[in-house]
């Protein structure tokens, strides 16, 4: 009894320490550089650069923080790295040209969008085996999962749909037609809303996942900027659902949206061709990858200000942050 309390206290202490120090590890895939930049979230300096395989894009960290999964698109595989050593330990059978993926809330399996083959591949990350392949629309890309893990959503770029897949049966039970070239799907933490960005359509659809209907379409306007340059890609929502961040690609801006009204509040100028984003686990910071300026921007979430930009490798694409 005493022992377990101690253990709990130590665990709590470690957690509290990590929290206040805010020293998380940030991993950025550099699509053209074929590398992964590793950053420290306290100093915001690149501590290490490791080889990422051919054309690394989608990236995520296992829920225990021990493994790093990277879509090496031109290698047709998902590379797995040990976060302690930063060495590759194995690969996962991803299907061809993996681009984006998402982990089940339990940490397993991994759902991967295969752009070339119109399928979503489901992979067991412990057994390293393929569990299922789900046929979806043309050029699957964005992947989102409901907080209860029961529904995985895939967006297909040429079919222009969000496909709702039952994670028990691997059957599509619902399709929602959105605007041109849907890129990213993001549930709110309570599962009540799903945001789907459409890059060429220039909108973010707010979807009621239960009803399968679009409740609102968010569009973007920046004075002096051609409307076709406002191309929403990555989407992130704070845990309380109050702030929604949308990366606007070649507009070099991140739109900040009020999660209650789903109206744009402001635009933050970041680097060029802003693509994907990730929060630090404490949600103090949001990191954006800026593909054409070879850097990442750090946004202070509370004050909604860009506080820093950090040079990484060539054409940064994806970003993930360690949970601890």
């Amino acid at each position: 009894m005493i022992r377990s309390t101690c253990a709990a206290m130590i665990a709590f202490g470690a957690l509290a320490y990590a929290h206040t120090a805010g020293a998380y590890t940030v991993y950025v895939t550099n699509e053209k550089g074929n590398t992964i930049s590793v950053l420290d979230s306290e100093t915001w300096e690149v501590t290490k650069t490791i080889p990422g395989g051919q054309r690394p894009r989608g990236i995520t960290v296992s829920h225990d923080g021990k493994e790093l999964y990277v879509c090496a698109s031109d290698d047709d595989t998902v590379r797995v790295f040990d976060t302690a050593t930063l060495k590759q330990t194995h690969t996962l059978p991803s299907g061809p040209d993996p681009e984006l993926f998402i982990l089940h809330p339990s940490g397993n399996p991994l759902y991967i969008a295969n752009e070339d083959d119109n399928i979503v591949t489901v992979v067991d990350v412990e057994k390293h085996t393929m569990i299922a392949e789900v046929p979806v629309g043309v050029e699957p890309e964005g992947m989102g999962i409901s907080p209860d893990g029961k529904v995985v959503v895939n967006t297909s770029e040429t079919t222009n749909m969000a496909h709702f897949i039952n994670t028990d049966t691997y059957e599509i039970f619902q399709n929602v037609l959105v605007d041109q070239r849907p890129r990213f799907a993001q549930f709110t933490a309570d599962g009540a809303k799903l945001y789907v960005s459409a890059e060429i359509g220039g909108t973010v659809s707010v979807i009621d996942p239960a009803a399968g209907t679009i409740t609102k379409k968010i569009s973007f306007q920046v004075p002096g900027m051609a409307p076709e340059a406002l191309q929403p890609v990555g989407v992130r929502v704070t845990g309380d659902g109050k702030k929604v961040f949308v990366a606007l690609g070649p507009a070099n801006r991140v739109a900040v949206i009020d999660g209650d009204t789903d109206e744009v509040v402001e635009y933050l100028l970041v680097g060029q061709r802003v693509w994907q984003m990730a929060f630090t686990p404490d949600e103090k910071f949001l990191i954006t990858t800026n593909g054409n300026s070879n850097d990442v921007s750090i946004i202070d979430v509370e004050s909604v200000k860009v506080i820093k930009s950090v040079q990484v490798g060539e054409q940064p694409w994806g970003v993930a942050v360690s949970p601890n």
């Binding site: 031109d74 290698d75 047709d76 595989t77 059978p93 991803s94 299907g95 061809p96 040209d97 752009e115 070339d116 119109n118 067991d124 085996t129 393929m130 569990i131 299922a132 392949e133 789900v134 046929p135 629309g137 043309v138 050029e139 770029e157 040429t158 079919t159 222009n160 749909m161 496909h163 049966t169 691997y170 059957e171 599509i172 039970f173 399709n175 037609l177 605007d179 041109q180 070239r181 890059e199 060429i200 359509g201 220039g202 051609a226 076709e228």
Partner: protein, 401 residues
């Protein structure tokens, strides 16, 4: 290497114990809307191309259509729509009768890969009973005086292509052009388009020369020996120029110009840096996926006509998905209205100009092996759409629809 990697992954998948192939929920058959379209390629006798790389494949254009139909069908599975496409290669004399027959059989969307005269004859014969889509003819008059209310142009006009090149040349500050054009009617039209583009964007054509087509075989063994003697002499004593613009749609001489000009100058237009809708090296904005799907289907690279036919049928897929209708009038209204938009691997949405039915689209500028640039260049602004800096804008259009 890619093939090897794929093979290994496939073998792994088959070996996995818990492998499940999930099916898609089938659409209710009672609600299924069947959409029957046609691709009509009107073949005319033409001399051989001067490069064997340009020999036309038998399935030219049709593969693009096949791919689009498959793409539409994938979406149709989810929306309860069935897409079929009839492919037909005919001579100019048979085109009207064949299209009328097809319209009688319920084909209301006709993609034409034909020259201007045949296109107009077909459009006039079918009237409002079908939507006719021009996937090939670039004639500016089809967008102006000879326009028709039932034709949509997916193919760019000559003016769009020449404006696209002109913007890039101006961006490079290559303002002084030497224009060499061929002697065929289409070469003269292309030369007109370059003169218009030069005026529009402020370039100066310092000198023009005509390369007469005197006939003869297009290719001979060791023909390059003569070319190396002829082309420098042909381009000798030109007024000082920055770039040589070649207008050779008939494919008689332009390909011989690069490296053979008397003065060391770049070549653009029909050779060298070329404006086009598609190129096998185009990979931006997801085009890689299109290329891979196409090559898997055909075992060859996609040509511009393949892409244009694909685009024409993707327009159909999009309008049917959004309106759930295959009525020509409903489709035309939606396509020319403010809600139609389509992603076409060009980085921005493509839409139709309501004043002449022309699809707004970026134009690729390509070299032999890579994409060089994409126009409109970002320095050219427009109050409606930057894409309207290419071709005939609304105030200039003489189309009465």
């Amino acid at each position: 290497m890619r093939g090897t990697a794929k093979t290994i992954i496939c073998a792994f998948a088959l070996g996995a114990v818990a492998f499940v192939s999930a099916s898609v929920r089938p659409a209710l058959s009672a609600d299924t809307l069947t959409v029957k379209a046609a691709v009509i390629r009107v073949d005319v006798e033409k001399p051989l191309p001067i490069s064997r790389l340009d020999l036309p494949p038998d399935d030219l254009g049709f593969v693009g259509g096949k791919l689009a139909t498959a793409d539409n069908q994938t979406t149709g599975r989810f929306t309860g729509q069935e897409f079929e496409t009839v492919d037909l290669a005919v001579g100019p004399d048979q085109a009207v009768a064949e299209v009328q027959r097809l319209v009688g059989e319920g084909v209301y969307y006709i993609v034409m890969a034909a020259e201007a005269e045949t296109l107009l004859a077909v459009a006039d014969a079918v009237g409002d009973s079908a939507v006719v889509v021009n996937a090939q003819a670039m004639d500016d008059r089809l967008r102006n005086d000879s326009c028709r209310s039932n034709i949509l142009h997916v193919a760019p006009s000559r003016a769009m292509l020449t404006d696209a090149l002109a913007q890039f040349l101006m961006w490079k500050k290559w303002r002084e052009w030497a224009l060499i054009h061929g002697s065929h009617p289409e070469d003269l039209l292309l030369a007109d388009a370059y003169r218009r583009a030069a005026k529009k964007f402020g370039a100066k054509i310092v000198e023009e020369r005509v390369f007469e087509d005197t006939g003869g075989a297009r290719r001979t063994d060791s023909g390059h020996v003569l070319v190396q003697k002829q082309m420098p002499v042909f381009t000798q004593r030109m007024d000082d120029y920055d770039v040589l613009v070649a207008a050779d749609e008939a494919d008689v001489f332009a390909a011989y110009l690069p490296y053979q000009t008397w003065d060391p100058r770049p070549v653009a237009g029909s050779a060298g840096l070329r404006p086009t809708t598609f190129h096998p090296a185009h990979e931006a904005w997801g085009a890689t996926q299109f290329q891979r799907r196409f090559e898997k289907e055909s075992n060859r690279y996609a040509r511009p006509l393949d892409y244009q036919v694909w685009l024409a049928l993707r327009v159909l897929g999009e309008v049917v998905t959004r309106t759930n209708s295959y009525d020509p009038g409903t489709m035309k209204d939606y396509l020319l209205g403010p809600n139609f938009e389509l992603a076409a691997f060009k980085g921005v949405k493509v839409t139709f100009r309501p004043w002449n039915g022309q699809l707004r689209q970026p134009v690729l500028l390509v070299g032999d092996k890579v994409l060089v640039s994409v126009s409109p260049q970002k320095e050219y602004l427009h109050k409606v759409s930057r894409l309207d800096t290419l071709g005939f804008d609304e105030p200039e259009s003489t189309c009465v629809r």
